[in-house]
């Protein structure tokens, strides 16, 4: 031990000798952040020597990177807090240069500064309520706009391009026919299977046609088509509009003075609302066909008997009931899709969130609305 040295401390890459009021920190070896990391206790250990000044010797220092800077900055911050003089003359000039770039805040503070204090529960509840209120307000404004601008659109006075409407109708209608057909054929077949199992035992197999026709026209075609369209088209509306938000495309529309609602939202809502009843009729027809296939295969029901029985089971009011539901479902899905897209943030993740929220809200909304329709139908004895 050198004469006059009161104490020695060491850690990975450093050792220090305390001589009276001065602690001389000798830096040694390599300091590589990605393999060595940083020692959070090093600064407090060095300062525990009680020295009033820190000096450095970097003669034994090898290669270094931000690991050394992190160590030195933490030591400097701790020394400043403890009233210990930090003499950096013995440090490598590039290290001094980098430390000069950094604010006097500690690196942990740098990483965490700006983290807001958790608000009290009541405050958070209030903020949540206000946010939901704002969403409700936006939703109401959208519906109001739809009523006002939709009326103008019908009279050809909205700032909506006919081409956009036609494209949206194609996308929400013709392009959706295959998936609507597949799902409804299967649902019709499933209804027929369920009916066949019970009706066969009663010797009333022909009534499977009644079950399939009523089930599809009154309930399943509208509901299943709506669920498909919520995932397929409602989600796409939300994602498209949210991506346009992120790319400032909507801002570009707005600064030209073009009404965003007319240009972007109205064609989508009108298209889906108009096409859903068409898809419903198509879904009902293919669903009944699916039921016929299963009925013919499992019960030996002839196509003619099946159709006569099915026609007898249906009334105009039931068809009107199904059409009304599909119309409402179409509007609801489109409104949710556009609404969630318009209120999305500007990041890539916000596009996914908007699409997910739109699909979930639309499916839940469709089922809830369907239940409401059924209650009304029961009261009206449809």
């Amino acid at each position: 031990m050198t004469t006059g040295v009161d104490a020695r401390l060491n850690g990975r890459g450093w050792n220090c000798a305390v001589d009276g009021a001065t602690c001389k920190v000798s830096l040694t070896g390599d300091w590589v952040a990605r393999t060595d990391g940083v020692d959070p206790q090093a600064a407090s250990r060095i300062l525990s020597s009680g020295a009033k000044a820190l000096s450095f010797d970097s003669g034994g220092l090898g290669h270094w990177d931000s690991a050394l800077i992190a160590f030195l900055v933490a030591l400097r911050a701790a020394a400043t807090d403890g009233g210990v003089r930090f003499e950096d003359a013995g440090l490598p000039a590039p290290a001094r240069h980098l430390m000069g770039l950094m604010a006097s805040t500690s690196t942990t503070e740098a990483a965490t500064a700006g983290v807001s204090r958790a608000a009290p529960l009541v405050e958070r509840l209030g903020l949540w309520t206000l946010a939901r209120g704002a969403e409700l307000n936006q939703g109401s404004a959208l519906i109001g706009n739809l009523v006002l601008r939709g009326g103008l659109a019908v009279r050809g006075k909205a700032a909506m391009r006919g081409r956009d409407l036609v494209e949206a109708m194609y996308d929400a209608g013709i392009a959706a026919l295959p998936i609507v057909a597949v799902v409804n054929v299967l649902v019709g077949g499933i209804l027929a299977f369920i009916g066949a199992t019970e009706l066969r035992t009663l010797g009333a197999g022909i009534y499977v046609a009644n079950l399939v026709a009523l089930g599809m026209v009154r309930e399943m075609a509208a509901l299943m088509t709506a669920i498909i369209m919520a995932g397929r088209t409602g989600g796409a509306y939300a994602a498209t509009i949210a991506a346009m938000q992120g790319g400032e495309e909507i801002d570009a529309v707005r600064v030209f003075g073009i009404p965003v609602f007319d240009y972007l939202v109205l064609p989508k809502i009108l298209a889906l609302t108009a096409m859903m009843p068409v898809l419903y009729l198509y879904g009902s027809a293919v669903g009944i066909l699916g039921g016929l296939l299963v009925g013919a295969a499992t019960l030996g029901v002839s196509p003619v008997s099946f159709f006569i029985q099915a026609r007898g089971a249906l009334s105009d009011s039931q068809l009107f009931f199904g059409l009304s539901k599909s119309f409402a479902f179409g509007a609801l899905i489109a409104i949710f899709g556009c609404q969630f897209g318009l209120r999305a943030g500007r990041g890539a993740a916000d596009v996914g969130k908007a699409a997910t929220s739109a699909v979930v809200a639309a499916i839940v909304g469709v089922i809830a609305l369907d239940a409401l329709f059924d209650v009304c139908a029961d009261i009206l004895r449809i």
């Binding site: 390599d30 990391g37 800077i69 290290a95 770039l101 604010a103 740098a110 500064a113 990041g347």
Partner: protein
């Protein structure tokens, strides 16, 4: 003492007879240059000259159709995928748009490479992320989301992320584009400071003349017409000494030689 491991490499990067293309369309061909370790090397050229495409080949995003890129002594594109991934960890890239991961805070952006590619614990990662953010002047902004950053802050945050793994070579794609002159100047100073501090080698792709003159030691000039390098040298030297008409026009903000002869070019001159 040796300030950092990066300076041990010399040259840091060399490109030899490189051709980059998209399908049949050749973007640049027969490109050769050497980037000395610890230098700031400029890849210059007008819009559409293939600067960013060449950069893509250098950072592993676009395989060249011919030629070699050597990192240190190693042929980058001849290496196995695993080896190339290891080499990539010695690269830091600042993309033109910043390319921040928008679902994460700024600190999380900087910390992610350390989380994914090192065995460091949480506090160490947080500390190192804080160091990088402090170095670029974003101490206190770590909790912000990228959408809340200004253009200059986004560039600096992207730079902090590029520095996350203490790279040996830093690639900067148009770092000053979209920034006002003062912010661009501050970023230039920061680039010089990082080279001075860490000794990192920097490849800077830019057509921003003040930045090129201020920070670069050497460079190449890519021509979009001939699809190859038409001049080598430091930007200031090219400005003062190069006689190639395209380079001269670029460096002195004059009309391109072809435009200068066109009568319509004079007609567009503001009165």
């Amino acid at each position: 003492m040796d300030p950092s491991p990066q300076r041990a490499l010399s040259p840091a990067l060399s490109v030899d007879k490189l051709t980059v293309a998209f399908g049949e369309k050749v973007i640049q061909q027969d490109v050769s240059f050497t980037v000395a370790a610890g230098s700031i090397f400029a890849v210059m050229g007008g819009s559409g000259s293939g600067k960013s495409t060449l950069l893509q080949a250098m950072i592993g995003l676009l395989p060249p159709t011919a030629g070699t890129i050597r990192v240190g002594e190693e042929d980058y594109w001849a290496a196995s995928d695993d080896r190339r991934a290891q080499i990539d960890r010695g690269f830091g890239v600042l993309f033109q748009s910043g390319a921040m991961w928008t679902a994460m805070t700024v600190t999380e952006n900087v910390a992610l490479p350390l989380r994914m590619l090192t065995a460091l614990n949480g506090p160490a990662i947080k500390t190192l992320a804080g160091v990088k953010l402090s170095l670029v002047g974003l101490a206190g902004s770590g909790d912000l989301m990228p959408a809340a950053l200004s253009g200059g802050m986004t560039k600096r945050a992207g730079l902090a992320r590029a520095l996350a793994l203490d790279p040996a070579i830093l690639f900067l794609d148009e770092p000053s584009s979209g920034l006002d002159p003062m912010t661009a100047r501050r970023l230039d100073d920061l680039i010089l400071d990082l080279r001075e501090g860490f000794g990192v080698t920097i490849v800077l792709v830019s057509h921003d003349l003040p930045s090129l003159f201020d920070v670069c030691d050497d460079g190449v000039f890519l021509d979009g017409e001939t699809h190859t390098v038409i001049a080598h040298g430091a930007p200031k030297s090219l400005r003062d000494e190069c006689t190639h008409p395209t380079v001269r026009a670029f460096m002195h903000r004059e009309r391109a030689p072809a435009d200068a002869d066109a009568p319509t070019a004079r007609a567009r001159r503001p009165s």
